[in-house]
C-alpha cells in the first residue's frame, strides 16, 4: 500500500520566533531572516511556571500558554495578538466534580486540525485530555478518554505517577483526518482514537516496558515524546523510556530503532524531533538513563543524534556544544525544528540556555543564557 505523503514546501526566509516556556515565565526569541542574530523578548508571566506555550499555525496570531504558580492552581492564558496582550481562560481544564480528580497542571497544548479553527487540545497532569472550541477560552474534558472505564488501568491512580505527576502529552492530530488522534502518557503508553476522542485503543505493540512485571504489556508504557514524521503522517516517531521507536502504518507494531545508538550514550532521552519534510530524518537528545537515572547529558557531554535513514543509523551532532562538564537536560517539549531549508533546530536546557543550529544540527550556537529552567521551546 503506497504511503500517503504530503510534502510542504520549505518556508521562505523570514524571521524565526521561539516561544520559550520556563519554570519562571515565558520568553520569546526572535531572529533576523538569516537566523544569525537573536533578540530576547520578555518575560511574560514572570514567576509563573509555564509548562508549554504554542502559537496557532492556523491564524498566525493566537498563542496559548499553560501556566500555574508554585502555590496557585493551573490555568491557561490566551493571546490573540502574538503575545502583546493576554487574557485568562474563563474555564481552564478541570475534571468533573464527580470524578474526584483535580488537574495539577496543564502540561501540553496542541492546536487542532486545520479544518477546525479555534479547536485546541490540552493534556494534563495527572493524565487527562481536554478540548477547547473557542481558541482556549473554555475547556471541556474529552469524556471518551477521561471517563473511560479502563483509564485507571491504563494510567494507574493519580498517586502512582512520577514525582512530578503522571502526564498526558504528545497529542497528535492527523493532518489528513481531524478525527484521528494519537496521545502519549507517562505512564500509560500510546493510545489512538479514530473518532475525535470518543473511543481509544492502546497502540504499544513492540514497545518494551522493562519496569513492569510483564515487559511486553498492552499498556502501561512510558513514552516520553511522539511526533508524526514530516511529510508522512503514516509514520510516527517515539522516544520512550525503553528505547527509540518508529511505527509505520497501517502496521501496528513499533520497530525499535535504537540499536545503532552508541552503547556509551544509550537510547534514553526526552525529546524527539521530526524533520518537517523528510520522513526518514529525526533527531533525539540522549540523557543518562543508567543507575538512578541522573537524566543529564551522558558523561557531561551533550549531543543531538540524527538519523537520515529511518533509524537504521544515528550520527552524533555536537559541534559547538560544550565538550565536557555540561550536566544539563533537555526536556521533552524543549526541542523543536522550524520549517526552513536548511531546517533550524532549537533546544532549551534545564540550566536556562537556548541553543540553535541553522544547518540541521551540524553546528550549534548558544543564543540565550541565564534564563530559568526551560520546559518547552516551540519554533514558529
Amino acid at each position: 500500500m503506497p504511503r500517503a505523503r504530503t510534502t510542504p514546501a520549505a518556508r521562505p526566509a523570514q524571521s524565526t520566533s521561539l516561544l520559550v516556556a520556563t519554570r519562571k515565565g515565558l520568553w520569546r526569541l526572535a531572529s533576523d531572516p538569516s537566523r544569525r542574530s537573536w533578540k530576547t523578548v520578555g518575560p511574560a508571566f514572570l514567576g509563573h511556571i509555564v509548562h508549554h506555550a504554542v502559537a496557532d499555525p492556523r491564524d498566525g496570531r493566537t498563542i496559548l500558554a499553560a501556566a500555574r504558580t508554585g502555590h496557585l492552581g493551573p490555568t491557561v492564558f490566551r493571546s490573540a495578538d502574538r503575545g502583546k496582550t493576554w487574557s485568562e481562560a474563563a474555564q481552564p481544564p478541570a475534571f468533573k466534580p464527580a470524578s474526584g480528580r483535580s488537574v495539577d497542571h496543564t502540561f501540553w497544548l496542541t492546536p487542532g486540525h486545520a479544518s477546525q479553527p479555534g479547536v485546541w487540545y490540552a493534556g494534563t497532569s495527572p493524565q487527562g485530555l481536554f478540548r477547547s472550541e473557542d481558541s482556549g477560552a473554555t475547556w471541556v474534558g474529552v469524556d471518551g478518554f477521561n471517563e473511560h472505564p479502563q483509564r485507571k488501568a491504563w494510567c494507574g491512580g493519580d498517586q502512582d505517577g512520577t514525582p512530578d505527576g503522571g502526564k498526558l502529552h504528545s497529542i497528535l492530530v492527523d493532518p489528513r483526518d481531524a478525527a484521528h488522534l494519537v496521545i502519549g502518557m507517562s505512564s500509560g503508553g500510546v493510545f489512538e482514537s479514530h473518532d475525535a476522542g470518543g473511543s481509544w485503543r492502546p497502540l504499544n505493540r513492540g514497545v518494551r516496558a522493562e519496569f513492569l512485571p510483564d515487559p511486553n504489556p498492552e499498556f502501561g508504557h512510558d513514552p516520553h515524546c511522539l511526533r508524526f514524521a514530516g511529510g508522512n503522517p503514516d509514520r510516527i516517531w517515539q522516544q520512550n523510556h525503553c528505547g527509540i521507536y518508529r511505527l509505520d502504518r497501517p502496521g501496528d507494531a513499533w520497530v525499535d530503532v535504537s540499536g545503532a545508538m552508541p552503547k556509551s550514550v544509550g537510547f534514553v532521552g526526552f525529546p524527539i524531533v521530526a524533520h518537517p519534510r523528510d520522513p526518514d530524518t529525526a533527531w533525539v537528545f540522549p540523557m543518562d538513563g543508567t543507575d538512578v537515572w541522573p537524566r543529564v547529558s551522558p558523561g557531561g557531554r551533550p549531543a543531538a543524534y540524527r538519523t537520515r535513514d529511518a533509524g537504521a543509523t544515528w550520527r552524533r551532532q555536537d559541534a559547538g556544544l560544550p565538550e565536557s562538564q555540561a550536566w544539563w537536560t533537555v526536556k521533552r517539549q524543549a526541542m523543536s525544528a522550524d520549517a526552513r531549508d536548511p531546517v533550524g533546530l532549537y533546544f532549551g536546557t534545564t540550566s536556562g540556555e537556548v541553543w540553535a543550529s541553522r544547518d540541521e544540527g551540524r553546528t550549534w550556537r548558544c543564543i540565550a543564557r541565564h534564563l530559568p529552567h526551560i520546559y518547552a521551546i516551540e519554533a514558529g
Binding site: 508554585g70 502555590h71 496557585l72 492552581g73 485568562e88 474563563a90 481552564p92 475534571f95
Partner: protein, 105 residues
C-alpha cells in the same frame, strides 16, 4: 480598599496575597457582599469564595480545585484560625486572609 454592598448580605473583608492581586486590580484587601439566609447564620467560607469569584472571575480556581479542596500551598485564615474546610463559618466581623505559601525555589 475596594468594596461592594448588597441587601441581605454580610460584608466580609478578604485579604489577598500578592500572587492573586492580578485578579483584584492590585488590591491587597477587598470587601465582598456575601448573601446570608438569616442574620444569626454566618456565611460559610465557601460563600465568601463564591462572592469573590463573582467579582473576580477565575480567582477561586487558583485557590480551590475542582473537587472543592483547598490547593496544597494555599492557606486560608478565618480570623486567627487556619482552616481548610470550606464549610467553616465566617462570623460577623472576622476577616478572611488568603496566604499563598511559597514553595521550593
Amino acid at each position: 480598599m475596594a468594596s461592594e454592598s448588597s441587601e441581605a448580605a454580610a460584608i466580609v473583608r478578604v485579604r489577598i496575597p500578592s500572587p492573586l492581586r492580578s485578579y483584584t486590580d492590585g488590591e491587597a484587601e477587598v470587601a465582598v457582599a456575601v448573601p446570608v439566609l438569616a442574620p444569626e447564620l454566618p456565611p460559610a467560607l465557601a460563600s465568601v469564595l463564591a462572592a469573590l469569584e463573582r467579582r473576580y472571575r477565575g480567582i477561586r480556581f487558583r485557590i480551590v480545585d475542582e473537587q472543592g479542596r483547598m490547593r496544597p500551598h494555599v492557606k486560608v485564615f478565618v480570623g486567627a484560625d487556619a482552616v481548610r474546610d470550606l464549610a467553616t463559618p465566617v462570623p460577623a466581623g472576622e476577616d478572611v486572609m488568603i496566604v499563598a505559601a511559597l514553595s521550593g525555589g
